[in-house]
């Protein structure tokens, strides 16, 4: 059977499973809808968190990105895993003890302020929408690459399935489909990685092949011969590597769709251990990705460099990906052979390579899209068509699981934090549930619109999501737990300082892509790029919050008692008997 037939079969089966789970997990009350009834086993929550976290970008693009960046790819590897340590030690157990539904719930109650609640709700909605647009687009791209339907149709099929289980199942439906999606995505990632590791290093375990073979010394040698920096050496300023890693770690710990997952487990002990399971499940993919990245880089250069065009086009995967334009060649020196070299093979036109215009400034004759590193692995390793189909199902699982978690945050921020807590506190349980379901529907439609008509700067604004989460939520939640004296004036001042500083800096540093200027208004800030600037915003938030809180009155007695109570694990079950 062809890859396409297999893809139809496997994708249909997985979608049927997700829809069935959504139906099985349907909910009838707000506790089920927002926090899955707080009955999720810590291991199940770990798997759901891992799927929630690992997006289309983690699954399809990250290994390719690392492959191009070499050592500097470590900012993503450490940044997107180290945040779980902060989450487990500084946030998750206490938020679980607090035991409400959302992150703005905590901010509003702890800082006894509807203003703080509103700022937090708006930040949560903005962060989640920025993020979800890319996910929905990812669903469409996977569909178009594997099934051959156009991106818009793919987007609509994907959001229809996500909308179905999120609307009827709420957090409970999302949680258990995410568990299934984790299983699909990790198997789909692991099989090709095992196969290619065996082929290139003789060791089937990618982490072992990566560490204990002579592949890396050979790759470094090749890099040197071709004029690249060594794969294992950094090319960014150290301060920037440091700040990007920190912003991604802190941003991860501050992302609302991740934090709310820890409201769903039965008690504080389970919240702690569940973060460990989540990171273990994430680490399976995140320690495989850098191995895959170096294998693919080695293989790509070995297969292409110095070969004639006819020779490489006879290789089936080269021909296939050249047709999709994810891989393109040019012959600048007219020798009929391919040269791998630093720099762009083609000039850029509005951010994309223009294949009619080779870039004379570089000797490089190969363009490849980062995504083919993961997408082509099964073919490079000579695996069966059904495994290629499985990779498609894995990419879809990664994109859909993240999208569903984000849509739920958007829905709960509007329906719970803004509608129920701010506008209509007298709303009945049935009204609240209805508004929650309707909001998911609305969010799905908006996300689908952005998926079909993506703003050109989606990839650029992801820096926003992490920068804003790092500079807004993380400091004030940590201070709310660890600093009993922190008051609403301090928190609001800190949150606004962090948000405004980070937003302005990112706008200045990305003004070329956002506003079409020839060069960014500010290339960097003391060597720190837009991706890392959230770290500075976070520090400012901490400092301003602390100074302002010390200059103003202490928080009310009841709030200080609430903080004391947060710190004691016992009684989390009782706390879940929620208003």
């Amino acid at each position: 059977m062809s890859v396409e037939t297999w893809t139809y079969i496997i994708v249909s089966i997985t979608f049927a499973v997700y829809i069935y789970i959504g139906y099985w997990a349907r909910v009838r009350d707000t506790q089920g809808f927002y926090v899955a009834g707080r009955g999720v086993h810590p291991i199940a929550n770990g798997a759901a968190t891992a799927a929630d976290w690992m997006s289309a970008a983690s699954f399809i693009s990250m290994a390719g990105l690392i492959s191009t960046l070499g050592y500097d790819g470590a900012v993503y590897l450490m940044g997107w895993t180290g945040g779980y340590v902060l989450l487990a030690l500084l946030l998750a157990p206490y938020l679980r003890k607090f035991g409400k539904y959302t992150v703005p719930d905590f901010v509003g109650d702890r800082y006894y302020s509807q203003t703080a609640r509103l700022i937090a709700a708006i930040a949560a909605i903005f962060i989640s929408f920025v993020y979800v647009a890319g996910q929905v687009r990812g669903v469409g791209i996977v569909f178009s690459r594997f099934v051959g339907v156009d991106i818009a149709t793919g987007v609509i099929i994907g959001v229809a399935v996500v909308g179905f289980f999120a609307i009827i199942g709420g957090m409970k439906g999302v949680t258990y489909t995410q568990v299934a999606q984790y299983v699909v995505l990790i198997i789909a990632y692991a099989i090709p990685a095992f196969a290619i590791s065996s082929v290139l290093t003789g060791n089937p375990i990618p982490q072992m092949g990566f560490t204990f073979s002579d592949l890396m010394p050979k790759l470094n040698q090749i890099h040197q011969d071709l004029g690249f920096a060594a794969y294992t050496a950094s090319t960014k300023p150290m301060i920037d590597v440091f700040c990007i890693t920190m912003a991604l770690m802190v941003g991860t710990a501050g992302l609302p769709h991740i934090i709310v997952r820890f409201y769903t487990v039965p008690n504080v002990k389970d919240a702690r251990i569940s973060a460990g399971w989540a990171l273990l499940f994430i680490a399976l993919l995140y320690t495989t990705a850098p191995a895959l990245a170096s294998f693919a880089r080695y293989n790509l250069i070995q297969t292409l460099n110095g070969k004639s065009l006819e020779e490489v086009r006879a290789i089936p995967w080269v021909a296939k990906w050249e047709k999709t334009r994810l891989l393109q060649f040019t012959d600048k020196d007219g020798d009929g052979r391919i040269t791998f070299a630093p720099g762009r093979a083609f000039n850029l036109k509005s951010g994309r390579p223009d294949f009619t215009s080779p870039n004379p400034a570089s000797r490089n004759e190969v363009y490849f899209d980062n995504d083919i590193i993961v997408l082509s692995t099964p073919e490079v390793a000579g695996l069966a068509p059904w495994i290629i189909a499985l990779v498609a199902a894995g990419g879809l699982a990664a994109a859909m699981s993240t999208a569903s978690g984000l849509l739920l945050v958007v829905s709960s921020s509007v329906a719970h934090d803004i509608y129920y807590r701010l506008i209509n506190p007298g709303a009945s349980e049935a009204q609240r549930l209805l508004v929650g379901r309707v909001m998911i529907g609305v969010a799905v439609v908006i996300a689908a619109y952005f998926g079909v008509n993506p703003p050109g700067f989606v990839a650029q604004v992801v820096a926003f999501a992490f920068g804003l989460a790092a500079s807004s939520f993380f400091p004030i939640i940590v201070l709310g737990i660890f600093d009993k004296r922190m008051n609403s004036q301090g928190a609001i001042a800190g949150m606004l300082t962090g948000l405004i500083f980070t937003t302005v800096m990112i706008l200045l540093m990305k003004s070329d892509v956002l506003f079409g200027q020839a060069a960014p208004a500010l290339p960097n800030w003391f060597g720190i790029s837009a991706e890392g600037i959230g770290t500075v915003g976070m520090v400012l938030n901490f400092v301003v919050a602390w100074v302002v809180s010390r200059a103003t009155a202490a928080p009310p007695e009841t709030v200080q008692h609430m903080v004391e109570d947060l710190r004691i694990p016992r009684g989390a079950g009782a706390a879940s008997a929620h208003d």
């Binding site: 050592y71 470590a74 030690l89 073979s213 150290m238 990171l279 694990p569």
Partner: protein, 84 residues
Amino acid sequence: MDKSKAAAYWKANLNLIVSLLAIWALVSYVFGILLAPALNGIRLGGLPLGFWFAQQGSIYVFVILIFVYAARMQRVDEQFNVHE
């Protein structure tokens, strides 16, 4: 729970958090970034050691840290009789 016992429990928790976060920062920011160029002179298998910490080792340590925290805190909770 009386005030002094609550304070002692919180102090035990903070001490544990500070020591685990020190390890967290050591393997990632120190070994993986600040000292990576120096550590790269040492090899682990085929990989320079600083690079290994940045792309492999730090992640393994992160996973261990969370499980250690969960296990140690469970013991502290029981000792102070605040567990569930």
